[in-house]
């Protein structure tokens, strides 16, 4: 009785602390305290579990805990901030792996003597868990460029996938009716693992953030199902929180990208071809290229500058140079603001983290709605590796695939300087009329190199 009460109280406390922890993330001022709550919650839950009767030996537990810490800590300490998407993918894989293994062990231990309702939860858990394991691993591979990032498609792909789904669901249904059919159980796990691979193959590397968030909510659902199987409420609650987070982020992303889930999951993004076509059709327009020296002069004498970072800043890893440049301009009396588009970069909040890493205070990062009115009165808009998020086609070309997506009104600034390596399109694979705007000058080259040149020139000016 007593250990039962202890553990229940511990789990309830953990659940409350997790919720309070996530509430803390409503503002940067309370976020660290919130995370402390969540950490305490985790500790309470672990300690509470360890006093349970069923646990009779601690040696193997210790092995697992030490191994996990030894793997986890270096990842956390040495991982570059630009690798956050990959790490997130791996982390979903770990979470799903734990849920799936617990489910399989539970089934194995009970030798299939599982009541129907529990079997449904258990089958749900291992099915979602298994497909999240391989799906996340594939996503990791594409992001880390171990696997070819481009969508891998073949004829009849959708038919194959649908068949796989249907068969797996069939096995699921069979299991609920006949929980003792062990071979069916293991077959279902195997098929779910396959589904994870096939699901992610046709999706382009750049669409991975949405996929990762979706897998996040699947991992959460698997974890909640584990809670149902084990009758453990803190698992149910944490799984629901996790699932909600993944779901909301993927909705926000696909909305800000102006695309539907269906389009992302089954579209296999065939736009490369179209993009090339439009590009060639407009090569007769002129592009003004600018030298670093000239650009430096413009920036040195500008009274107001808005920096618009994009995915290119993450690729070039030049956030520190951006901060240095901004400081330099401010020392000379100009004002510098940062305009952050909600889907700039490749994951939610990407630009914010990078700029924070470069020590730029967050009250100088402006959300799109807050800064869009200010471009008109801005001397120079400095676009660093951003492309789609400043593409005016979203506003005025109904035929464009990004039409309707809200963008930063960079084209309203008095002059525009764009740092990128070439005229290649960005993520959406479409051309950008901004670069042909007479007010716009292109400073070609890797953003990091260009920024270093700009800084040297301005210092000399």
């Amino acid at each position: 009785m007593i250990p039962g009460v202890v553990i229940q109280v511990a789990y309830l406390a953990a659940a409350v602390l997790f919720i309070l922890g996530l509430r803390g993330l409503a503002s940067p001022a309370t976020a660290r305290r919130g995370m402390l709550y969540a950490e305490i919650g985790m500790l309470v839950a672990i300690v509470g579990t360890l006093v349970q009767h069923e646990i009779v030996r601690y040696d193997w537990i210790l092995v697992g805990l030490v191994l996990g810490s030894v793997i986890g800590a270096p990842i956390a300490i040495y991982m570059p901030m630009t690798a956050v998407p990959q790490r997130t993918a791996i982390s979903h894989m770990c979470g799903a792996l734990a849920a799936t293994l617990v489910g399989i062990a539970e089934y194995w231990r009970l030798r299939g003597q599982v009541p129907h309702a529990e079997m449904a939860a258990l089958a749900f858990e291992v099915m979602f868990g298994a497909l999240t394991i391989t799906g996340s691993f594939m996503a990791f591979g594409k992001l880390q460029e171990l696997v070819k990032g481009a969508p891998i498609t073949y004829r009849g792909q959708n038919a194959v996938n649908l068949t796989l789904f249907a068969v797996t669901l069939g096995l699921f249904g069979y299991l609920v009716v006949q929980p003792a059919a062990a071979h069916v159980f293991y077959a279902m796990v195997g098929l779910a693992l396959l589904i994870g691979v096939f699901l992610v193959l046709p999706i382009g590397g750049a669409d991975m953030p949405v996929v990762i968030s979706l897998l996040n909510s699947y991992a959460g659902l698997a974890s909640a199902a584990t809670g149902f199987v084990l009758g453990n409420n803190v698992l149910i609650i944490a799984g629901a929180l996790d699932g909600a987070s993944g779901f909301i982020l993927s909705i926000l992303m696909s909305r800000a990208m102006n695309r539907s889930f269906r389009n992302i999951l089954f579209g296999a993004f065939g736009s490369q071809a179209t993009a090339a076509a439009t590009l060639s059709a407009t090569t007769d327009k002129t592009v003004r290229s600018i030298s670093a020296a000239d650009a430096a002069i413009q920036l040195a004498y500008a009274r107001s500058v808005i920096v618009v970072p994009g995915y290119g800043m993450a690729v070039a890893q030049c956030q520190h140079q951006v901060a240095e440049l901004a400081e330099l301009i401010e020392k000379r009396g100009g004002s510098v603001k940062f305009a952050i588009h909600p889907v700039a970069g490749r994951m939610p909040g990407h630009m914010n983290v990078l700029l924070a890493e470069a020590n730029i205070p967050y009250d100088r990062l402006y959300d799109m709605e807050d800064i869009n009115g200010e471009f008109e009165n801005t001397d120079v808009a400095l676009v660093i590796g951003a492309n789609d998020v400043v593409n005016p086609a979203a506003r005025n070309e109904p035929s464009s695939p990004i039409y309707g997506m809200p963008i930063l009104n960079v084209d309203r600034a008095k002059s525009i300087i764009v740092l990128k390596r070439s005229m290649n399109p960005g993520f959406a694979g479409i051309e950008n009329a901004l670069f042909y705007n007479p007010k716009c000058s292109m400073l070609f080259g890797n953003a990091k190199d260009s920024l270093v040149q700009l800084i040297t020139e301005i210092k000399a000016a």
Binding site: A14, A15, F18, L22, L25, A26, P28, A29, A31, M35, A38, M42, T49, L50, V56, W60, V63, G64, L67, G68, I71, G72, A76, M81, S91, G95, A98, A99, L101, V102, I104, A105, W108, R109, A117, S213, G220, S223, T226, F228, V229, L230, N232, N233, I236, I237, A240, L241, D242, G243, A244, G246, I248, I340, G349, N352, V353, A356, P361, Y362
Partner: protein, 97 residues
């Protein structure tokens, strides 16, 4: 396996509501730390794995349990540490030296 009671559905539904509301209030500024924070919290599947690794359910269960504990613990440790590392970077203008 302790049997599913219907009341657990209430817990799930209410937790989903709470999650939806809490997460909607996180500003875009903190979406990346949010992702790693929920990763860390999802490591709570540790509590299931611990029982598996520590109870005497047979070798298969123990092996699966240890792998599961390792996987979950990796999430907990790296999730919380990365979140903290990121959050430490976010500073207001007046905090800057």
């Amino acid at each position: 396996m302790s049997g599913i009671s219907f009341i657990e559905l209430y817990v799930f539904v209410l937790a989903a509501f709470v999650g939806y509301q809490v997460i909607s209030r996180v500003p875009p500024l903190l979406h990346t730390p949010l992702m790693s924070a929920t990763n860390a919290i999802s490591g709570i599947s540790l509590v299931g794995s611990l029982v598996l690794a520590g109870a005497n359910y047979g070798t298969v269960a123990t092996v699966l349990g240890v792998v599961a504990v390792t996987a979950a613990m990796t999430n907990v440790v790296s999730g919380f540490m990365i979140t903290d590392r990121m959050l430490r970077m976010f500073k207001r203008g007046d905090d800057r030296k």
